[in-house]
């Protein structure tokens, strides 16, 4: 689904799904997309679906609507466009061109027999060999133009490689600088980037030729920097005067000449910085070799190309960092919202119980006091479970393995839940596999995992008009080396769109009574055992959770009843059949 993802501003981390044909955005709560940004007008802009694309239009806002840095009245959005309203910057992602299903129909991988393919490989190159296309070859005729072109291509190829795999901007710039110094005989160089907040150029890296003092001060003319960044043009400069620059009698020969190249780092949307290199020709060199320019037009062109490449990489790295940060903030926000909601409900329950206790005490009615206390007690258990789930989920732990009876553990869960099932008029059916052997597992952990799944099933059946039923069973599958706990309900099932995030923490649906931690915790516990949870669900046909764990039999010694994970040597253990 097309989205606008806020990567900067008060709503950073919020992803707005463009699910409707027309969405208005602004500060006012009546907008489909509401921003908490005082620089945004009440009714700022509108996004409208036209011929499958989304078109954004400004609604005469006070501060305007910008796409990729340009103020717009109306603009057809493309994936990657940056939309700015007020201080809020968003990244637009359009609809997928083709669904995976559509693509699978067009592109398929088939065996030669299936398609009668008689093709054979006639030549092959490794990736390293392929990259040598840019290398100078002395065995063929080479014009100087061709040689330069190949050399330039090689530089660009290496630049592309250098910028392609780092997410650290400083490291990235350092690589660019080193690459430039490999290719051009510069004495000193630096890269400056615009600070995103102050929009002032700030030096990020500098480099000096080997053998030169590294602490030499580099002074760059503000006029040249302004020229480069405002006009988006690269320049070659020289401190020699044009009219008498190579006059052997002039001051230039006495002082030498300093030449420099300064190029903009122009990204997709903006100039993000500049690259500067310089070199000096001493009076002695001038007298020996004559007065020639060391930085040529070719150098400048290639530096401009490198500057562009580097800028794209800087932008990508910044956006990636912003996206990661935004995703992190969104996840924190989601966690806080879910926890707050759950804790608020627990507190409301405690308040209710306390109110009844107070009422019962005032009216000397023990029955009311007892009722109130039950509610308080239930909520104490809920807060304990919440804390336990949070600890289980957040801590790396090893299961506390012991010999036990899986049927007994699952049976305990059902006994615990029977009263609640009765309250909800849910039939709880139990079918333990009599052939289940005593095995090694973490009884408390598995109890917890099963309890979470059964609780979810009960929640799903609460308030249903049809008779609720939960069937719980165990299966010992010796040939597969697996023990299975099956929990099936006849509830509403899980919507297809929720299946993918079923085991993501804190993503419980609004209808759910839970924290959104139950299933992730259960899955973690099963994984700690080398097992897994398999879910099968069809809307309106209920859910089937299968908790699978490898059968691990205890050693024959009857004295040994408890094991730590390190003491498992010698225990027959059949692991995941898929592995």
């Amino acid at each position: 689904m097309p989205t606008l993802f806020v990567i900067r501003g008060a709503d950073q981390g919020t992803r707005f799904e463009l699910s409707e044909a027309v969405l208005q955005m602004g500060r006012d709560a009546s907008n489909s997309i509401q921003f908490h940004d005082t620089e945004v007008s009440r009714h700022h802009a509108e996004v409208r679906r036209i011929d499958g694309d989304y078109v954004i239009s400004d609604l005469h806002s006070s501060n305007g609507t910008f796409v990729n840095g340009q103020r717009i009245e109306r603009h057809r959005l493309s994936t990657g466009d940056q939309v700015q309203v007020g201080c809020t910057l968003m990244l637009y992602t359009g609809p997928a061109e083709e669904t995976p299903e559509e693509l699978a129909k067009i592109v398929s991988i088939a065996t030669a027999a299936e398609i009668g393919d008689r093709s054979r490989i006639v030549r092959s190159f490794t990736q390293q060999e392929g990259s040598r296309i840019f290398e100078f070859q002395s065995d063929g005729p080479q014009t100087s133009w061709l040689a330069r072109a190949r050399s330039n291509l090689q530089v660009m190829y290496r630049t592309a490689l250098a910028v392609s795999h780092t997410l650290d901007i400083d490291q990235l710039l350092q690589r660019i600088m080193e690459l430039i110094f490999e290719w051009v005989e510069a004495d000193r160089g630096c890269i400056m980037l615009f600070d995103p907040a102050s929009h002032v150029l700030q030096p990020k890296v500098h480099h000096t030729r080997k053998g030169m003092r590294a602490d030499q001060r580099i002074s760059i003319s503000q006029t040249i920097l302004d020229y480069v960044t405002e006009r988006n043009e690269g320049v070659v400069t020289s401190d020699a005067r044009q009219d008498d620059r190579w006059d052997a009698a002039g001051s230039i020969v006495r002082m030498g000449v300093r030449e420099a190249i300064c190029v903009p780092m122009k990204g997709r949307y903006d100039v993000v910085g500049v690259i500067y290199i310089d070199t000096s020709t001493s009076p002695q060199q001038m007298l020996q070799h004559g007065a020639t320019n060391r930085f040529t037009e070719d150098h400048l062109k290639l530096m401009i190309a490198i500057g562009h490449q580097a800028a794209l990489a800087v932008e990508d790295t910044r956006y990636y960092s912003a996206m990661v940060q935004a995703e992190r903030l969104a996840a924190i926000g989601q966690t806080i919202a879910t926890l707050s909601h759950h804790i608020k409900n627990i507190l409301q329950g405690i308040r209710g119980g306390s109110y009844l206790i107070e009422l019962g005490l005032k009216e000397h009615d023990e029955e009311i006091v007892g009722k109130g206390w039950k509610i308080v007690d239930r909520n104490q258990n809920r807060i304990s479970s919440l804390v336990l789930d949070m600890l289980t989920f957040s801590k790396e732990r090893k299961p506390e393995l012991a010999a036990g009876n899986l049927n007994a553990t699952v049976g305990d869960v059902l006994e615990l839940m029977r009263a609640r099932a009765d309250e909800l008029h849910v039939e709880l059916q139990w079918g333990g596999d009599a052939s289940m052997p005593e095995m090694i597992f973490d009884p408390e952990g598995i109890h917890h995992a099963v309890l979470n799944v059964v609780t979810n099933a009960l929640d799903a059946l609460a308030d249903r008009e049809t008779a609720g039923r939960i069937e719980v069973a165990t299966q010992c599958c010796r040939d597969e080396g697996l023990a299975r706990i099956i929990i099936a309900d006849n509830g509403p099932g899980i919507p297809a769109e929720q299946m993918e995030s079923l085991f993501s923490p804190f993503l419980a649906s609004r209808k759910s009574h839970g924290t959104g931690l139950g299933l992730p915790v259960s899955q973690k516990i099963l994984r700690e055992h080398g097992g897994q949870i398999v879910v099968d669900s069809r809307p309106d046909h209920g859910c089937r959770f299968v908790l699978e764990l490898p059968i691990s039999l205890p050693p024959p010694s009857p004295e040994t009843t408890a094991f730590s994970p390190g003491e498992e040597a010698g225990i027959e253990r059949k692991t995941d059949p898929g592995g």
Binding site: A29, S30, K344, N345, L347, Q348, G349, R351, G352, G353, Y355, L356, L359, I368, K371, I375, R378, N379, E423, A462, D463, E465, S509, R510, K511, H513
Partner: protein, 135 residues
């Protein structure tokens, strides 16, 4: 005998309200979801419906069954929620912000069922919810 219908997903809230209101001589029924509550309301309209906004199903905010109740039997509404939902078309009603004190909620319920006269008419473009000032 006055009657109240409590629609709240939290069974404890339903239990507390049922216990307290019944003791005060108010006939009380309850449901966990709005649609189930509206079905109960159609069977026998109460004087007041206390609706926690969390009881509204994800399917939407379909209050049309409420509107289908005969105007002279349409119950008054008391909505409970953390935030008043902007842009939603709720029928006219009072609003109590969560988390609330039960004593305040009970007092509010008694005030509302003590009031005489039919509920203000409601439609899809409903009257705004009266939200009490924050103390």
């Amino acid at each position: 005998m006055s009657s109240v219908l409590v629609v709240d997903p939290a069974e404890e809230t339903r239990e507390v309200l049922e216990t307290v209101l019944e003791r005060r001589g108010i006939s009380t029924r309850s449901a966990g979801r709005l649609l189930a509550g509206l079905a109960l309301a159609r069977q026998a309209p109460p004087d007041l419906m206390v609706v926690d906004l969390e009881s509204i199903d994800d399917a939407g905010h379909d209050w049309s069954p409420f509107g289908e109740l005969p105007a002279d039997h349409r119950p008054k509404l008391l909505l409970l929620g953390t935030f008043r939902r902007q842009g939603d078309s709720f029928p006219g009603g009072d609003f109590l912000r969560k988390p609330y004190e039960y004593a305040v909620l009970i007092r509010k319920i008694e005030e509302l069922i003590g009031e005489s006269g039919p509920c203000p008419p409601c439609s899809s473009s409903a009257a705004p919810i009266k939200e009490p000032a924050l103390s």
